[in-house]
């Protein structure tokens, strides 16, 4: 196996951090955009770009809720995303074992 075969959607530093952060949530939990941005340390625009890519691939899901006048968007890793992260992690183990 070579590094080129690693999932290109996850094998980007920022997206790896996003996916790892969402994977650390307890099962069934979601994380608000604001808290995620605070933890990842990106500008909102930059974070949205990465989140869109992950959402288009069905690695994460988003939900918009209204709390009075405030709109809150939350994100969670999907089952497909968790499987992809597990496969990515296993691929890293295989690669590092062979190095």
């Amino acid at each position: 196996m070579t590094a080129d075969e690693l999932d290109p959607l996850i094998h980007v530093p920022t997206r790896l951090r996003i996916v790892a952060t969402l994977a650390a949530l307890p099962n069934g939990d979601t994380l608000s955009f604001t808290r995620l941005q605070d933890m990842i340390g990106l500008t909102p625009g930059n974070l949205i770009i990465h989140l869109r890519k992950l959402e288009e691939a069905d690695y994460i899901s988003s939900q918009k809720t209204r709390n009075g006048t405030v709109s809150i968007t939350t994100f969670a890793l999907t089952g497909h995303g968790r499987t992809a992260l597990d496969a990515y992690t296993q691929a890293l183990r295989d690669l590092l074992g062979g190095l």
Partner: protein, 221 residues
């Protein structure tokens, strides 16, 4: 003006993102997130374990010479109350910070909060009733206030967390309930010390498990 870095591209000067770097980043991000999402911070559990042993140990020193057993004197009661209040404030503050922006199944439901509140308040309401009914001092001021909250709250917490398949917290709840049961067998004076030691061990054990889980590598062995 500083341009926003293009983080959509792989890292590295040659455009590559080395698997070693990726593994290190994955571990680092996971461990950091686990630490930040943890509602029971290990440092708080360690402090709580030491303080609970000191406070309940002080009560034991205060009552162990009483024959027959009466009650803890006014010299130690303020410490017990202060510990209870500070413990509650610290727990809620740390929990609120950890769960900010997090919603979903791991949050306590209103019904679960109500059950825990009823248990804690109810225990002391029943204590008042027992005082009014003239139940002996060794039970009202000895065995009951130490063991009843631990057994009931521990079992309730174990059931609540078991329904969420949160086995670590379920184990903590059971350990607290067992501590209460052991304290029950230690007599009115000894129950304070038994509860202090049992809670200290439970809290230090929980802190150790949480630290181990937080530091466990995702990629490595």
């Amino acid at each position: 003006m500083n341009p926003t870095p293009d983080t959509t591209a792989p890292a590295g000067n040659d455009g590559s993102f080395d698997p070693r770097q990726a593994a290190a980043l994955l571990d680092q991000a996971t461990q950091r997130a686990r630490r930040q999402f943890e509602p029971a911070q290990p440092w708080l559990l360690v402090i709580r374990g030491v303080v609970v042993l000191a406070v309940l140990g002080a009560v034991w020193l205060n009552v162990r010479g009483q024959h027959p057993y009466q009650y803890p004197t006014a010299a130690v009661i303020p410490f017990v109350i202060a510990f209870g209040v500070l413990n509650l404030i610290a727990t809620l503050t740390v929990r609120r910070r950890a769960t900010a922006g997090v919603s979903g199944r791991s949050r306590l439901r209103p019904a679960e909060i109500a059950v825990l509140t009823v248990i804690w308040v109810g225990v002391y309401v029943v204590m008042g009733v027992m005082i009014g009914a003239g139940v002996s001092d060794r039970i009202v001021y000895g065995l009951y206030p130490v063991t009843a909250p631990l057994i009931l709250a521990g079992l309730a917490w174990a059931v609540i967390t078991a329904t969420r398949a949160d086995w670590q917290n379920c184990g903590t709840g059971l350990a607290v309930a067992i501590t209460g049961a052991v304290a029950l067998a230690a007599g009115p004076a000894g129950s304070w010390l038994a509860a202090g030691i049992g809670l200290c061990v439970t809290l230090l054990g929980s802190a150790a498990v949480i630290v181990w889980r937080q530091r466990r590598s995702v990629v490595g062995p």
